[in-house]
């Protein structure tokens, strides 16, 4: 008997396809309809509160992974102060290189093997989208996740508090400032990174500008890993735009400002929160002076903030644990995320028995939670439902190595 090779393959594929044809694809994650939590979720947390995170510690997004230094610094300082109600914190951070597939494996390990009670500062939108369903299914809260994607503020994922301000909130604040400062007939030039955050922010900005009656010129884009000055893109915008909004990755801000400077154009420049840190803008020198952005975290190196206890505590905790440039950027973001998570855990512990289930369920009713390093007047609240957890955001202006608040825009 001689079997025909291709016929054999076709038969095998046919059998495989038939076996698998009964699969019923379901678009979208229906996390709200998740079944009851696993039994171990209602057990009281032991002597150690286990926290876990997955973030890009290596690869193209490794700079973002400097969040870890801030998270670790805060956990160390909380443990040094005796922990939460005598319970020590144990932190496990795994590297996902920004790859959602790897992040899924990491989070399975964190939840199933390490037995974490909460996820903290899980970083990037694709990763948070990929892991959300499993976290919800296991009733593990995803606290202060670093994503501003609007899909996380639409009430789609239970047990989650995003730590980045949603793109819609940032766009609203930027547009409000542009209208106040430059009038409602301003033409906006948009320089946008070709990645999920650039696209998300760009869409939000277009919506907000449309509502305010502003004109946005066709966006000029830069590759997400391109660190060269975007000379041609700036040239394409300079003759028509009154204001330049840069929605690019942090490392792309100084080259973009250099391109603007070289072109002889001197527009008012706005950026997203990615570039809203002195450590990020400093390489651009004087070209960065006057750049406006949005932030909800104070500049810890600004002399005006040196008297604040939370700033002193942060600078003491982070000393020697992060590169200088990260102290006023990613490490600070990680620190604030972890601080928010710990403030939340403390608030749940004060209400009674600390269980994973309580941490998971309590996410929806946070109100007036104070988190260190935020501008005055900003608190965290999730009880308002489908809006940003931050109660307000500040428009800031960079000048000579620090930034100051220009206005505060309430989020409602």
């Amino acid at each position: 008997m001689k079997l025909r090779p291709l016929g054999l393959c076709a038969a095998t594929f046919l059998v495989a396809s038939t076996l698998t044809a009964c699969g019923s694809p379901q678009g979208g994650s229906d996390s709200d309809s998740s079944a009851a939590c696993p039994a171990d979720a209602s057990k009281t947390v032991g002597d150690t509160i286990k926290l876990g995170s997955t973030m890009p510690l290596s690869g193209q997004l490794a700079s973002v992974g400097q969040n870890r230094a801030g998270v670790e610094a805060l956990v160390d300082s909380v443990n040094a102060d005796g922990g939460i109600d005598g319970k020590k914190l144990e932190l496990t951070v795994l590297d996902d290189k920004g790859d959602p597939a790897r992040a899924v494996s990491n989070v399975q390990r964190l939840i199933s093997k390490e037995g974490v009670d909460a996820l903290v500062a899980v970083t990037t939108t694709p990763v948070n989208l990929a892991i959300a369903e499993f976290a919800v299914e296991q009733c593990v809260p995803n606290l202060f996740a670093l994503t501003g994607d609007e899909r996380f503020t639409a009430g789609q994922f239970k047990g989650m508090i995003p730590a980045s301000n949603p793109y819609d909130t940032q766009a609203k604040a930027l547009i409000e400032d542009i209208v106040d400062e430059h009038g409602d007939d301003t033409k906006i030039g948009l320089l946008q990174a070709e990645n999920d955050s650039g696209a998300g922010l760009g869409d939000s900005l277009k919506r907000a500008a449309g509502e305010a009656g502003l004109t946005i010129l066709p966006a000029q884009t830069v590759a997400p890993t391109d660190s060269a000055p975007p000379t041609s893109q700036v040239s394409a915008l300079k003759d028509e735009a009154d204001v330049l909004v840069m929605l690019v990755s942090p490392f792309q801000c100084p080259p973009a400002l250099q391109a603007v400077g070289r072109s002889g154009w001197q527009p008012p420049v706005y950026t997203s929160d990615f570039c809203a840190y002195p450590g990020i803008l400093e390489p651009a020198g004087d070209l960065a002076n006057g750049v406006r952005s949005v932030n909800w975290i104070v500049d810890p190196t600004d002399a005006a903030n040196q008297g604040r206890d939370d700033v002193k505590a942060y600078l003491s905790a982070i000393k020697g644990k992060a590169p200088e440039v990260a102290v006023t950027s990613f490490a600070e973001t990680g620190y604030v995320s972890a601080a928010g998570a710990i403030a939340y855990i403390k608030s749940i512990a004060e209400q009674g028995d600390l269980t994973r289930q309580a941490l998971f369920d309590g996410v929806e009713s946070v109100d007036g939670l104070d988190v260190p390093l935020l501008f005055d007047g900003i608190t965290v609240r999730t009880s308002k439902g489908k809006v940003s957890p931050w109660s307000a955001v500040n428009v800031i202006e960079y000048r000579d190595g620090t930034y100051s608040s220009v206005r505060q825009v309430a989020v409602d």
Partner: protein
């Protein structure tokens, strides 16, 4: 002129089993080869079925990633290893598979298997189209052509934002387990996709084995070894190369469709140039022109970066990965498969026939003559 051609084709995979001379004996050996392939396939399916009972959670997710990567590496191995056509654009075919499947499932409401099959056909067609300019190009120039395909793909996805959601990515393309399996929830879906991916990998290995046992397979190897001589022997160069590019693309699309099914999130940056280069590295490290080598390559692609980041923190993980590649190339110049084959032969006390490697040093023009 004709003598070397006969020698080349005769020594091509699977060597003795399909050598035209030998009459009945060859037929018997051929039947034995088919039976052996079927037995290995059955064993493979059984192993795939039982793995989720033994391994769970994060390790199963990693194994799933490795299985999917092995399918992509297998396709690239057909093109590069067996046919000698270098490609730095395989990730684009994964992207075609992922996006076509996702769009058909999420937007058009198709069933996942059908959507994946259609995506494989689409990738096959794209592969054939890419092969047209490739007919006139070799070596570095061919590499540049495929590089262009790899570089252009994310931009095309961004331009087709209306369908692909651009850089914001597509979300919610999971392939749920059918109710009769009793698999529920996220981990149930993971097991289901693992079973499907494992079955696809076994089928793809069988396809490769049979393809390389056929006249087409010998033609591929003949083109790799000496294209002019192959043409002189009457091998249809254009058609054979088009088939190689098409099948490599289709297998890449299968891997891409399974990636979307397992993760549920796809973004253009997942299918960029870096991924293409890493897949090519996986082919070389696993073993060029070897089905087993493709499996090792897939495992290398997933597990070495994973354990590198376990060993070293942050950017050091990248250095450890790079070091692992260097060590693998120096310790096993014929890939992990070649190393293991050598070791096995030494264990059995056989002297290894060096003529296989000394005749054909690995290169982009003539990567290797060894097959498995």
């Amino acid at each position: 002129m004709s003598e070397p051609i006969v020698t080349d084709i005769a020594t091509a995979p699977p060597r003795k089993e399909t050598t035209p001379s030998g009459g009945d004996r060859a037929r018997r050996l051929g039947d034995r080869g088919v039976v052996r392939a079927l037995i290995f396939s059955a064993i493979g399916l059984v192993v795939v079925y039982f793995i989720p009972f033994v391994v769970g959670g994060s390790m199963l997710a990693l194994l799933l990633n490795a299985v999917v990567a092995s399918i992509a590496v297998l396709g690239l191995n057909l093109l590069f290893g067996y046919c000698g056509q270098i490609s730095i654009g395989q990730a684009a075919f994964l992207g075609i598979g992922a996006y076509v499947s996702a769009i058909l499932v999420v937007d058009a409401g198709w069933s996942y298997p059908l959507a994946t099959l259609v995506s494989m056909v689409a990738a096959f067609v794209v592969g054939v189209v890419v092969s047209i300019p490739a007919l006139r190009l070799k070596g570095l120039y061919l590499a540049l052509l495929t590089l262009a395909v790899g570089v252009v793909f994310p931009s095309v996805v961004r331009r087709l934002e209306h369908f692909t959601q651009g850089d914001r990515g597509m979300f919610g393309v999971q392939w749920r387990a059918p109710s009769w399996t009793g698999l529920v929830g996220f981990e149930g879906q993971l097991i289901w996709v693992f079973w499907v991916a494992g079955a696809c990998l076994v089928a793809a290995c069988l396809l490769m084995h049979n393809l390389m046992s056929s006249r087409v397979g010998r033609s591929l190897v003949a083109i790799r070894d000496n294209e002019v001589a192959a043409a002189s022997a009457g091998i249809p160069i254009a058609r054979t190369k088009a088939l190689a590019f098409g099948v490599a693309g289709a297998l890449g699309a299968l891997a891409g469709g399974l990636t979307a099914a397992s993760v549920g999130v796809i973004m253009p940056m997942q299918f960029g140039l870096l991924q293409s280069i890493e897949l090519l590295v996986a082919v070389v490290v696993g073993g060029v022109a070897s089905i087993r080598g493709s499996l090792f390559g897939g495992a290398f692609y997933v597990f070495v970066p994973y354990y590198a980041s376990e060993l070293a923190s942050g950017e050091l993980a990248g250095a450890v990965f790079a070091l692992a590649i260097l060590v693998a190339i120096f310790v096993a110049p014929r890939g992990i498969d070649g190393l293991l084959v050598d070791g096995w032969r030494r264990l059995r006390g056989r002297s290894y026939d060096r003529s296989v490697t000394t005749n054909a040093p690995p290169s982009s023009e003539n990567p290797s003559k060894g097959t498995s």
